[in-house]
Amino acid sequence: MIHLDLLSGLTPPPAAFDLPPAIAVESSQVDWLYNMIYYVSIFFTVVITALMLYWVRKYRRQKTDKRMETPHYPRLEIAWTVIPCFFVVFLFHAGFKVFMTQAIAAQDALEIRVRGQKWFWSFKYPNGREENSHLYLPVNKQVKFLLSSSDVIHAFFVPGARAKKDCVPGMYTTLVFTPNVLGETPVYCAEYCGAPLGYPEPALEGAPHGGHSAMMAMIHVVPQDEFDKFIKEGPKRPEGLTDAEWGKQLYRQNACITCHSVDGAKGTGPTWKGMFGKPVELNAALSGGVGNVTADEEYVHESILKPQAKVVMGFNPVMPPYTLSDKQIDAIIAYMKTLE
C-alpha cells in the first residue's frame, strides 16, 4: 500500500490499534469520536470493576454479620442520573455532526454509481464507463456515491473511510466521502446476501470465498490526472501479466464466470471452452435473421457490448451489456484463445 498524505489540510490521527488505516477526510473525525468513547468506556469499566472487587474483598461476610439498613444517598443518585444525561446529549450531538458530513455532498462532487449484485460490485463513472470489482477515485475530491442493488440488499462498506450504506433494490441510497490518501483500500459487502452452492472463486482476485464474504472490491485512490486518463481509456493491464492472464482476471472480476464456464459445463450462457474461432449456431429469430456466425474477434466484441444482438441457439437472451474498454475485450479474447 502506498501512503502519501498530500495536501488534505487535516492530518489523520494515528489510528487506534483496532482501527484500519484512514483514507478519507471524514475518517479522522470518526476516529476521534471512537477513541473518546473508547477511553470513557475503559475508564468506567475499570472503576466499576475495581470498586466491585475491592468491596467484595473488604466487606466479606464476618461471623458477626450485622445486618444493616441500606443507607440513602439522594444527592449521589441524582448526580449519577443527571450527569450522564448531559454526557449522552453531548455524545449524540457530536456523532450527529460528523454523520451529516457523510450525508451531504457539495454540488460539484464526483458522482459514482454503484450497483451491488450477487456477488460482485459494479461501478459507473460520469462519462458512462463501467467497471467491475475495481474502483478508481481521484485524491482530494469529494465523491457522492449513488447506490443500488439488482437483487437483494447489499451494503457498500469502505472501512478506510468509515463509510457504509445499504444498497437496496428498487431505490437509490447515497454516501459521501473525500479520499485524501493515495493507495488501495478494500470495499466489503456488509449486508448478508447469501452464498453460491459449492466453492467457486470470488470475482476479485485474492478475495475470500463464499458469496457474501467474497463480494469484495478494491478502491484505487490515484492523482487527478491519472484518474482522468483512466476513465477515458479504461484500466491498463496490470504489471507482470500477459494479455491472456489479464483476460482470465477480467473473466472473474466481471462475473462472466457466473454464466460462462471454461471447462465445457453448460451454464446460463455458452461455455468458452473450444468456442473461439469455431462456428456458432444462433437463434435466428432473436439474432436479426442471422443463423450462423464464426466466433471471431468481432463477434466477441459485439457480444460483450451488445449481447442481445446475437443470441446462441438453446440459450435465453439474459446477458446484460458490459462497457469494457477495447484493451479489456482484447485481453478477454486472448484468454478465450487459450481455452481449447
Partner: protein
C-alpha cells in the same frame, strides 16, 4: 370453570404441606398434564437447556469453520445455515423464554405468597404452544434449513431456497407462548399478591418480570404480523416487501425491529431482575435505590419501543429518522447506568458472601459494563456507520445477551437449584466451573470487538489473512467455554443423582421464596402468608428466618 382433576393433587391431598411438589404425584402423565407452575417451570427448563445445547453446538461448528481462512469444515451454504440456526434457536427457543418461563414460572408465585399463577391451564397451554413452535423449527432444520440469518431480511428471505416458511412458522407459534405467559404474569402480579405485599415491597425480580411481561404482550404481536406477512409474501407473492410490485424491502426491517428491539429488553430485564436477587442475598442488603431500580425497569420497557431503527442507520432512512433514533437510543443508556451504579453501591459496607451464584452476578456487572458501554459506539451515528454489521456488533450483543442475560440465568439456576430440586450441587466444582466459563466466554468475544473495528464484517464464511489470528483466538476460547458448560451440566446431573439434601434456606436469604420448605409443597406455603416486611429488609428479618433451617 371446571374443577381441576384430582390426579394433580395425588395422595396427599392438595393442601398437605408435608409432601413436596415433586412427590405429591408420580408418573409421566402427572407431568404432562400438570397445572403446577413449578413443574411447568421445570418442563420449560429442560426444553430451553436442550435448545441451548443444539444452538450452542451450531455455534461451535461456526467457530471451527472460522478457525482458518478458506474452507475448514463446511461449504459456504452450509455455514450460512449453521449461523442462522444458531441465531433462530438461541433467540426464539432459548433466550426469550429461558428466564421468564423457567425460573420465573417457578419463583413468581412463591415471591408473591400465592399458590399458583393466575391462569394455570393457560400456563400449561403456553408450554405446549412453545413445543409446537419448536417442532416446526426442528422440521425446518431437517428439511433443508434456512440461510437467511435470524433477521430474515427481505428480499433475500422471500427469494432464497430452504425451509423458510417452516422456520418462520415455528417462531410465529412460539411467539404466542410468549404472549400468553406475559398475560398470565401481569395478571398474577396484579391479583395474587398476599396480604402485606404492597407494590413497594415487590421483589425486584418481579418488577423485572412485570416490565418484561408488558413487553411480551405488546411487542410480540408485531413480530407475529411481520412473520405472517413474510410467509404470505413467500407463498402468494403478495408484494408488500417486493420492489418489483411496488413494495418496500426496508418496511420489513421497520416491522421486524419494532418487535426485535423490545425483544432484547425481554431478554435482559429478567436477567437484571435476577441480579437484584443475587446481589441482595449475598450482600445481606436491600438493593440501593430500590425505587430507582424498579422505575428504571419500567423506563427501559417504555423506551425500548422508541428506538428500533437504531438497527437501521445504514438502511437508507432519511437523515431526520437517523437523528431521532440516535437521540432516543442515548436516552436508553440512562436507566441502565442507574442500575449499574445502584448494584455497585449496594456492595459498599455490605456483608458479602461470594458463593457461586454471586460470582455470576459479579461477572454480570463487569460484562454488562462492557456490553452497555459498547452500545454507546453503536448509538452514535458517526461511529455506527463504521461498526454496523461488523463483528463489533456481534461482540456487543453477545456481551449483553450472553455475558449479561445468560450469566444471570446461570446465576439464578445455581441460586434456586436447591429450592427447585431439594439438593445442593458441589460448591467447589461450581466455583471452578465459573472461572472456566468466565475466561472462556470473555476470550471468545473480547477479540471480536477488535475484529469488528478493523473492518471484519459479520456473517462472513471466509476472511482475509489479516483477520486470522483473532479468529483463531476466539475459536480456541470457544472450546474452553464449551468445556466449562458441559462440566456445569455434569455438575447439576451429579447433584440430582447424589447431591446433599438442601436445607430450607441455604443462602441465608430474607427473600419470600426462602420462607417456604425446600423443596416446597404443591401450594408453595404451609399456610397462606401475610408479609410484614419487605423481601430485602435484612435489618428486620429474624435470625430464624435467615437461618439455614
Amino acid at each position: 370453570m371446571a374443577a381441576i382433576t384430582t390426579d394433580q393433587h395425588g395422595h396427599g391431598g392438595h393442601g398437605d404441606p408435608n409432601v413436596d411438589y415433586l412427590h405429591v404425584s408420580k408418573g409421566i402423565w402427572s407431568w404432562i398434564y400438570t397445572l403446577d407452575h413449578k413443574r411447568i417451570g421445570i418442563l420449560y427448563l429442560v426444553s430451553v437447556i436442550t435448545f441451548f445445547i443444539v444452538a450452542g453446538l451450531a455455534a461451535l461448528l461456526v467457530r471451527i469453520e472460522l478457525f482458518t481462512p478458506g474452507r475448514t469444515i463446511v461449504d459456504p451454504d452450509t455455514y450460512n445455515r449453521l449461523f442462522t440456526l444458531h441465531g433462530v434457536v438461541m433467540v426464539f427457543l432459548f433466550i426469550i423464554p429461558a428466564i421468564p418461563a423457567s425460573l420465573g414460572n417457578f419463583v413468581l408465585p412463591m415471591m408473591l405468597g400465592a399458590k399458583d399463577v393466575a391462569f394455570p391451564r393457560l400456563n400449561l397451554l403456553s408450554y405446549y404452544i412453545y413445543l409446537l413452535g419448536s417442532c416446526f423449527a426442528i422440521y425446518s432444520l431437517i428439511s433443508g434449513a434456512v440461510d437467511t440469518g435470524w433477521t430474515f431480511y427481505t428480499p433475500y428471505s422471500t427469494t432464497t431456497n430452504g425451509a423458510v416458511i417452516a422456520m418462520v412458522l415455528g417462531a410465529f407459534i412460539a411467539g404466542f407462548s410468549s404472549i400468553l405467559t406475559g398475560v398470565n404474569f401481569i395478571t398474577t402480579i396484579h391479583k395474587l399478591r398476599a396480604p402485606g405485599l404492597t407494590w413497594s415491597r415487590l421483589p425486584l425480580f418481579l418488577w423485572a418480570i412485570y416490565a418484561t411481561s408488558i413487553l411480551q404482550v405488546l411487542a410480540t404481536p408485531v413480530l407475529a404480523i411481520t412473520l405472517l406477512l413474510l410467509m404470505l409474501e413467500r407463498t402468494f407473492g403478495i408484494g408488500i416487501f417486493d420492489p418489483h410490485k411496488g413494495g418496500d424491502p426496508v418496511l420489513f426491517q421497520h416491522f421486524f425491529w419494532f418487535y426485535s428491539h423490545p425483544a432484547v429488553y425481554i431478554m435482559i430485564l429478567p436477567g437484571m431482575g435476577i441480579i437484584n436477587e443475587l446481589i441482595s442475598t449475598f450482600s445481606h442488603r436491600k438493593i440501593m435505590g430500590y425505587r430507582a431500580v424498579f422505575i428504571s425497569s419500567l423506563a427501559l420497557a417504555l423506551f425500548s419501543f422508541l428506538v428500533w431503527a437504531h438497527h437501521m442507520f445504514t438502511s437508507g432512512m432519511s437523515e431526520y429518522a437517523n437523528m431521532v433514533f440516535s437521540a432516543l437510543t442515548f436516552l436508553v443508556a440512562i436507566p441502565s447506568g442507574v442500575k449499574v451504579f445502584n448494584w455497585t453501591g449496594t456492595l459498599y459496607k455490605a456483608s458479602i458472601w461470594a458463593a457461586s451464584p454471586m460470582l455470576y452476578a459479579l461477572a454480570f456487572l463487569f460484562q454488562f459494563c462492557i456490553g452497555g458501554l459498547t452500545g454507546l459506539f453503536l448509538g452514535m451515528l458517526a461511529t455506527d456507520i463504521h461498526l454496523h454489521d461488523t463483528y463489533f456488533v456481534v461482540a456487543h450483543f453477545h456481551y449483553v445477551m450472553v455475558g449479561s442475560t445468560v450469566f444471570a440465568f446461570w446465576g439464578g439456576l445455581h441460586y434456586w437449584w436447591p429450592k427447585i430440586t431439594g439438593k445442593m450441587y458441589d460448591e467447589g466444582t461450581a466455583k471452578k466451573v465459573f472461572w472456566i466459563v468466565f475466561v472462556g466466554y470473555n476470550g471468545v468475544f473480547l477479540p471480536q470487538f477488535v475484529l469488528g473495528s478493523r473492518g471484519m464484517p459479520r456473517r462472513y464464511y471466509d476472511y482475509l489473512p489479516q483477520f486470522e489470528f483473532l479468529h483463531k483466538v476466539s475459536t480456541m476460547f470457544s472450546w474452553v467455554l464449551a468445556v466449562g458448560l458441559f462440566w456445569m451440566l455434569f455438575m447439576f446431573i451429579q447433584s440430582l443423582r447424589n447431591g446433599k439434601k438442601a436445607p430450607r434456606n441455604p443462602w441465608n436469604s430474607a427473600g419470600y421464596e426462602w420462607g417456604t420448605p425446600t423443596p416446597p409443597p404443591l401450594e408453595n406455603f404451609t399456610s397462606p402468608p401475610t408479609f410484614t416486611r419487605g423481601p430485602y429488609d435484612y435489618h428486620l428479618a429474624t435470625d430464624a428466618e435467615i437461618a439455614e433451617d
